[in-house]
């Protein structure tokens, strides 16, 4: 059954020809498939089930977690539910705030790329089991990102750094403290010359204060900060426009037109969760005559934001700059020679649209765009009167803002000059993440006294004299600012599993006092000195309880725009791109590599490509045709002398001449999950081209690498296949019922059965999913994962089509090959009232309850899998092998005790989080009342940043879900099969600019 090597790669001209033949509403799918050539089947082999097409069963190769089990039998983690020492209490008398079996919620904060997001962490019997957004926190509003949801797995990761190491030998905190003191005493002599600190973006007031103190004590000491996904260009852009660092904040709910210049403000931006919520609110169509905002996106590779666009241009990074220049020109700034002609008319329409919506628009640029583009955004927003309405400026959020690249360069040159005696690295893994030309790995060993505080035994740890395990944020006390400036507090839910330390604890050693203070005392005492609250104790407790200091967000700030400086900058250098452009982006799942050892993130399909367990050389179909490349071909990329090898992935919507590489993969020293997965794009990334570069050379090596995607067909085949329904805002205004015009489900009366036999007159659970506001960000998927103890199965099993996620996000493409429209569709169990799965189960392992839930009884299931065959939605998941990890000790406290961990040979699927329903029911029954509207949130609903998922009781009059079911856009997927799903969808609406639309037609 091995696929024979392809006779020829498919012909994209052929593909194009066929595509032209397709009608407008038609969706198409992964490229070769439409070509319908035999080579397409080859590609199916190559692209998708590759591993599976091999002769052997793969059991042997499967599941690092199994290996984990074996190797971890020794790692006795009996201490993994230790309580924080501050308030440990015997269970002889149950502490009143803790009832066994009842979850406790604690507000704390998670930081990514520096900025904090407030979270609520759920603890059961003293161990954290789930993390969700803190609704009161401005940076979360209750929504979650994949990283928040997955962070719980990081806490229990069996591969975390467990011991303090000195030159690789196990050591103790006391030894470290004394050695560190020795080092410091040396430095006291020379005022700290040669004493260097390397931190990530600093947003912790406590840490900042400590650093200030250190500089006072050691005037010669140097601070450097570096974040591999740095916002330097944003900083420099602001400096260019205003002569100083300022932070730009946006208000999306007020906007009617948004132009994103390569900005992924819905997903990667530090305030993405909030922006997503605001964006969605401005897009949701409530009544028949609703209004929506309109989103224009110009970007090099499809991102979450790009897929939400009403008009999207696939432009290379440099072309985006050209675009912004010529847009500015249209508003009278600078002169543009050689305008990007291909998007001329698009640009005119856009300009008119922006003009029309003065004060109600936003122009936003991505972190990866050069400073000039950011400056232009400032200028345009100013010109369009957005400043003060939709855009405003604040003091920089980060403390001691600096050009991080410059500061890292300074450090490196010092190290080369042997000027660095002592280097204290607080997280960040620079050896892996620093630009290739800095060659951090070779200069770091020149530093004799290097200390590294890191969560895992990574590349940097290996090269440092001291490695101190860093505490997970759920183990630490701390404070941090979120992007809007709100000060957030971290409090531990659990004593550090492996005695990890926090940055403040290390820095605190510099001021020797007896006894050594822990992070709690450090943070607390810092805030005591701040005199922020009249009654400190009260204020402190309140803030820690809330997880934030109420309205501590930064105040709006009037800024003076330096137009002439911008104009000058425009003239001074011209943008140019030659040959093939390469762009570097953080990976949508594992970010810059810090999540590389997180199985959930590795396995969750990337938002658009649906790839798992790999990064790839993402190229456009056109380029593939030109270079005669097919998915899975391993190529060698060369960028001025530096080389890296990776597999090709064809991504519709990718800018034609731009190759995109995702960072974070190819880790050489990570845990057993992340090690050696994918290739390390940092090897091409140099300080002069952090985000994009020209003249990339691609050479085919003739080898193959199996890339595994969870979805290979992005095409709905035929217009009759009305699975994903959509229209434009104008269609909707013209005829609110237009969705219903297409096939509808049979009416309930149309049946031979006695309609009164099952009447759900108690509760009647149902779900409504709004396709219009779904971003496809995977937050729901990972939330479900954490809530329901869903196992990770590994690349090989995914390749065989055995991924276990209960809710999946289907992404469909529509329209042109080079720049399709994207549609995301979350698919959980539909909980059909006429469930086809139940009818065919021979043992009643799946059946209906009186509230309309389609139940799966694990201990009755014998595993015939007939239910899955008969499920039209294919939402059922089967434990083909032992997927659940029963053995790894550190995972045991992670599992949600309310949910069964499934064993081999049983079927499983979405349960509408029945455990949450039961919990609410019990409470309600104790109080002898009905469950009220917002008492139950399914995990996916709770995580959704845009509230696209709504769950509730249809029998509760005017409950949100009940209302949504009567919405004109409501339709049930495959309703024509008379399955009567309880999960229904609100059709997608797009809001295209009539001018551009007509032109596209013409």
């Amino acid at each position: 059954m091995k696929p024979t090597p392809p006779s020829r790669t498919f012909d994209l001209a052929d593909v194009r020809a066929r595509l032209d033949g397709l009608r407008g509403q038609q969706y198409w799918q992964s490229l070769d498939e439409i070509a319908e050539t035999p080579e397409f089947k080859e590609m199916l082999h190559r692209e998708f089930p590759n591993g599976a097409s091999e002769w052997d069963d793969g059991v042997s190769r499967r599941s690092f977690l199994k290996m984990a089990a074996a190797s971890l039998a020794l790692a006795g983690l009996t201490a993994c539910t230790k309580q924080p020492v501050q308030h440990i209490l015997p269970y002889v008398k149950e502490p009143e705030e803790l009832v066994l079996g009842e979850p406790q919620l604690f507000a704390t904060a998670m930081c990514r790329g520096g900025y904090a997001t407030g979270v609520l962490a759920k603890s059961r019997e003293g161990h954290p089991i789930k993390v969700d957004g803190n609704p009161e926190h401005p940076a979360s509003l209750g929504g979650s990102s994949v990283w928040m949801q997955a962070s719980i797995l990081d806490l229990y990761d069996p591969d975390r750094a467990k011991t303090l190491l000195r030159d690789g030998e196990i050591s103790t905190w006391a030894d470290f403290a004394s050695d560190f003191n020795r080092i410091l005493r040396e430095h006291e002599a020379n005022q700290g010359a040669g004493l260097h600190f390397l931190t990530e973006t600093i947003i912790s007031p406590t840490l900042a204060a400590q650093l200030d103190a250190i500089l006072k004590k050691f005037p010669q000491a140097k601070l450097h900060s570096f974040d591999s996904i740095s916002r330097d260009h944003v900083r420099e852009g602001a400096r260019l426009a205003f002569g100083q660092f300022v932070e730009t904040q946006h208000r999306f709910e007020k906007t009617s037109v948004i132009l994103s210049l390569d900005s992924d403000f819905l997903y990667t931006h530090p305030l993405a969760l909030r922006y997503a919520r605001e964006f969605a609110n401005a897009r949701r169509v409530s009544s028949g005559k609703g209004e929506m905002n309109r989103l224009y996106v110009a970007e090099s590779t499809p991102t979450i934001t790009g897929t939400m666009a009403d008009h999207r241009l696939a432009l290379g990074s440099a072309e985006v700059e050209m675009l912004s220049r010529s847009l500015a020109q249209r508003f009278g700034l600078g002169t543009m020679d050689g305008t990007s002609t291909k998007s001329e008319s698009w640009l005119n329409a856009l300009a008119r649209d922006l003009e029309k919506n003065r004060g109600k628009s936003i122009v936003i640029a991505g972190e990866w765009q050069p400073p000039i583009v950011h400056a232009l955004c400032h200028w345009l927003n100013d010109k369009l009167g957005n400043v003060g309405n939709t855009v405003f400026y604040t003091e920089p959020v980060e403390l001691r803002p600096t050009n991080q690249l410059a500061s890292l360069r300074e450090l490196v040159s010092d190290m080369q000059a042997d000027a660095v005696k002592t280097l204290l690295i607080l997280g960040g893994n620079p050896v892996y993440a620093a630009p290739a030309d800095f060659d951090f790995a070779t200069v770091l060993p020149k530093v004799k006294q290097s200390i590294y505080l890191g969560t895992e035994l990574d590349e940097t740890a290996a090269l440092c004299a001291w490695h101190v395990p860093q505490a997970h944020y759920l183990e630490s006390w701390g404070d941090a600012k979120s992007f809007d400036g709100t000060i957030s507090f971290q409090q531990p839910l659990i004593e550090p599993l492996y005695g990890g330390k926090t940055p403040p604890e290390i820095l605190d050693l510099i001021f020797p006092q007896q006894p050594v203070r822990d992070d709690y005392e450090i943070v607390r005492s810092y805030w005591e000195t701040q005199k922020r609250w009249p009654d400190f104790e009260k204020g402190w407790r309140r803030s820690v309880h809330d997880g934030l200091i109420a309205d501590s967000a930064l105040a709006e700030k009037k800024m003076e725009l330096k137009s002439d400086a911008i104009g000058e900058a425009l003239r001074s250098h011209q943008v140019s791109v030659t040959g093939i452009e390469v762009t570097f982006r953080p990976d949508p799942s594992i970010w810059d590599g810090r999540f590389a050892n997180n199985g959930w993130l590795q396995e969750c399909a990337k938002p658009v490509s649906k790839l798992t367990w790999d990064n790839a050389v993402i190229i456009s179909p056109a380029l593939a045709q030109q270079q005669n490349l097919a998915a899975g071909d391993i190529v060698e990329l060369e960028l001025n002398g530096r080389k890296v090898r990776g597999p090709i992935w064809l991504q519709p919507g990718q800018a034609e001449k731009t190759v995109t590489l995702h960072l974070g993969y190819g880790r050489e020293r990570a845990g057993r999950v992340g090690r050696g997965v994918g290739f390390n794009a940092n090897q091409l990334r140099t300080s002069d081209a952090l985000w994009s570069a020209s003249d990339l050379k691609i050479s085919k090596l003739g080898e193959k690498h199996p890339l595994v995607a969870t979805q290979t067909h992005h095409n709905l085949q035929s217009p009759e296949r009305q699975i994903y329904r959509e229209g434009t805002l104008n269609d909707f205004k013209a005829n609110p019922q237009f969705v219903k015009q297409s096939i509808e489900s049979p009416k309930n009366a149309e049946t031979l059965y006695d309609t009164n036999e099952y009447r759900y007159d108690g509760y009647k659970w149902a779900m409504s999913i709004d396709l219009n506001t779904c971003l496809g960000c995977n937050a729901c998927l990972l939330a479900c994962n954490a809530e329901n103890n869903i196992p990770v199965v590994g690349k090989d099993q995914v390749a065989r089509g055995r991924e276990m996620y209960w809710i999946r996000i289907d992404t469909y493409y529509k329209g042109s090959l080079d720049n399709p429209e994207f549609s995301h569709m979350p698919v959980p169990c539909m909980h059909c009232e006429h469930a086809p799965c139940e009818l065919v189960c021979p043992v009643e392992a799946t059946m209906h309850d009186h509230e309309g839930l389609n139940l799966q009884v694990y201990n009755r299931c014998v595993g015939t899998r007939f239910c899955s065959n008969n499920c039209p939605y294919k939402v059922r998941r089967f434990n083909f092998l032992w997927y659940a990890d029963y053995k790894t000790p550190s995972f045991k406290p992670m599992y949600n005790p309310d949910v069964t961990v499934r064993w081999r040979g049983v079927m499983e699927k979405c349960t509408y989080c029945i455990q949450r329903i039961s919990r609410a029911r019990i409470t309600a029954e104790k109080e002898n009342r009905r469950i009220s509207e917002h008492e139950i949130q399914t995990a996916c609903q709770q995580a959704c940043p845009t509230n696209a998922i709504v769950f509730g009781d249809l029998n509760t009059p005017n409950s949100t879900v009940a209302k949504l079911k009567t919405h004109p856009l409501d339709y049930s997927m495959l309703g024509e099969l008379n399955t009567r799903p309880r999960t229904t969808y609100l059709a997608k609406l797009r809001n295209p600019n009539p001018e551009i639309q007509s032109e596209a037609k013409g």
Partner: protein, 471 residues
């Protein structure tokens, strides 16, 4: 080869090695020189004297080793789980169910020959029904294992049976899988009883012919002291006829029920009303093919041409051809309904079946199942052992492929394109299939070795009829 020459008179037409009717069809149903004593000696002689031990042992060794492979595969399966097979979501059924349907189908020929042809007074069945019934039993044994093995948790298979469960739970009688359990077990038991009733008097013959004490005792016990008294025969005959009558609707029902496993589901390519008749026809089609594949070598080896005459083979070939056309009609109707219903999912399924990723399998199926069997229109093929053997072989393979296409191809492209996947069998899938064939052959060889493989009694009846000039 004096047996043939001796039993069959010289031809006026030397091109035909067998006596022919005026129309040129094979005439003989049983050799002219046969007497009661001769058939008794010839047939009972095989279990008693065990001719050609070398050949038998070689075959047994091969079949046995295949069977051992099967045991290994099953052991590994129970140890690891069904994940060792190529199945996935959406293709949750693969080889296991394909094999199940295939084996059940093969089983059908036996009952068809012994029951339906009995009621239709087809005398030519008498010399082959014993063997085919045995084949049925063994095929159903093989079939029966697969639904159990393919379970995620095989050790709790008994939850599919109605029994007083501590949780007071019952099987879900609306599920076709439960119907299967009853249909298959009923089918097995009825076939077993039918077969035993038939074999009992012959065991008595072997007992009376046995020379050694032990053989006498063993065969004596196994025939329960049969004396062939008028009263015995009276009850025996009426029961035999009734079982025949009961088995007839059973044959038709069993594969209909198996087809419900698919027809009751709403999957495009499964959800179709033509399935029951189409499955039954297919079952008899493959069953007859398998019977031919077994009879032809056996009859050669044990020199049974005088009993299993060319006429028998010719008739079997005709039935094969007819059922083959029923199956072809089924194919045509499937395609027609897909087009006529104008259902997008059905249409796509049909398109994908022919031109999709598994298209080559489908066209292979067409060749094996529809094209090659047309050779049977020629009388020369029908009466030529080797040719007939290979045509039958192609039908057997073809019918397996047909089930594969129905199970796998329909599943791999269903309603929601996002979940479309491919299925690739693993080595364990293949070993299990081959192993089950090994088990089947092993049981069959044991049967040939120890039990009279042709009904002596009914052969005697033929002779009696011939003496009365009724043949």
């Amino acid at each position: 080869m004096d047996t043939i020459q001796g039993s069959e008179p010289r031809m006026p037409d030397p091109s035909k090695p067998y006596p022919v009717t005026v129309l040129g069809y094979p005439a003989e149903m049983i050799g002219p020189k046969e007497t009661y004593a001769r058939v008794s000696d010839q047939i009972a002689g095989i279990p008693l004297k065990h001719p050609h031990p070398k050949f038998w042992l070689t075959c047994f060794a091969i079949a046995g080793s295949l069977f051992l492979m099967f045991c290994v595969a099953v052991g590994y399966l129970l140890f690891k789980g069904v994940g060792i097979w190529g199945i996935n979501i959406p293709i949750a059924w693969g080889f296991a169910i394909t094999n199940f349907v295939w084996w059940i189908g093969i089983g059908h020929a036996g009952t068809f020959i012994s029951a339906i042809l009995l009621l239709l007074h087809q005398k030519w069945r008498t010399t082959i029904n014993r063997l085919t019934e045995a084949m049925t039993l063994f095929a159903v044994m093989c079939a029966g294992m697969f639904p159990l093995l393919h379970l995620g948790r095989p050790w709790v298979f008994f939850w599919l049976l109605p029994y007083p469960d501590t949780m007071k739970l019952w099987p879900q009688f609306r599920s076709p899988l439960v119907w299967d359990v009853f249909a298959v077990s009923t089918y097995f038991l009825v076939s077993l009883m039918f077969w035993y009733l038939g074999v009992m008097p012959d065991l008595a013959t072997v007992r009376d012919k046995a020379k050694t004490k032990w053989k006498k005792i063993i065969y004596g016990i196994s025939c329960m002291g049969w004396r062939g008294s008028a009263r015995h025969w009276q009850h025996h005959q009426s029961a035999y006829l009734l079982l025949g009558g009961l088995a007839t609707p059973l044959v038709l029902s069993v594969h209909s029920v198996v087809s419900f496993d698919f027809a009751v589901a709403q999957l495009p390519g499964w959800h179709s009303t033509i399935f029951p008749p189409y499955f039954v026809a297919g079952a008899i089609y493959s069953g007859f093919a398998m019977v031919l594949n077994l009879l032809i070598p056996i009859r050669r080896l044990y020199r049974l041409q005088n009993l299993i005459t060319t006429r028998t083979l010719n008739n079997m070939a005709c039935v094969t051809l007819v059922t083959g056309w029923m199956v072809i009609y089924g194919y045509i109707m499937e395609a027609f309904m897909a087009w006529y219903s104008n259902d997008p999912f059905e249409k796509h399924m049909m398109w994908d079946r022919a031109f999709g990723s598994y298209g080559w399998v489908f066209w292979g199926l067409m060749l094996l199942n529809c094209v090659i069997p047309q050779l049977l229109w020629s009388r020369r093929i029908r009466t030529h052992d080797l040719a007939l053997f290979f045509v039958a072989l192609s039908v057997n393979v073809g019918m397996w492929v047909e089930r594969f296409v129905i199970v796998v191809q329909s599943l791999h492209h269903d309603f929601v394109p996002s979940s479309w996947k491919m299925y690739y069998p693993t080595k364990w899938d293949v070993i299990t299939l081959l192993g089950s064939i090994g088990m089947f052959l092993m049981l069959l060889l044991l049967f040939i070795r120890y039990v009279p493989m042709i009904s002596i009694t009914e052969s005697r009846e033929l002779i009696a009829l011939r003496r009365e000039g009724q043949l």
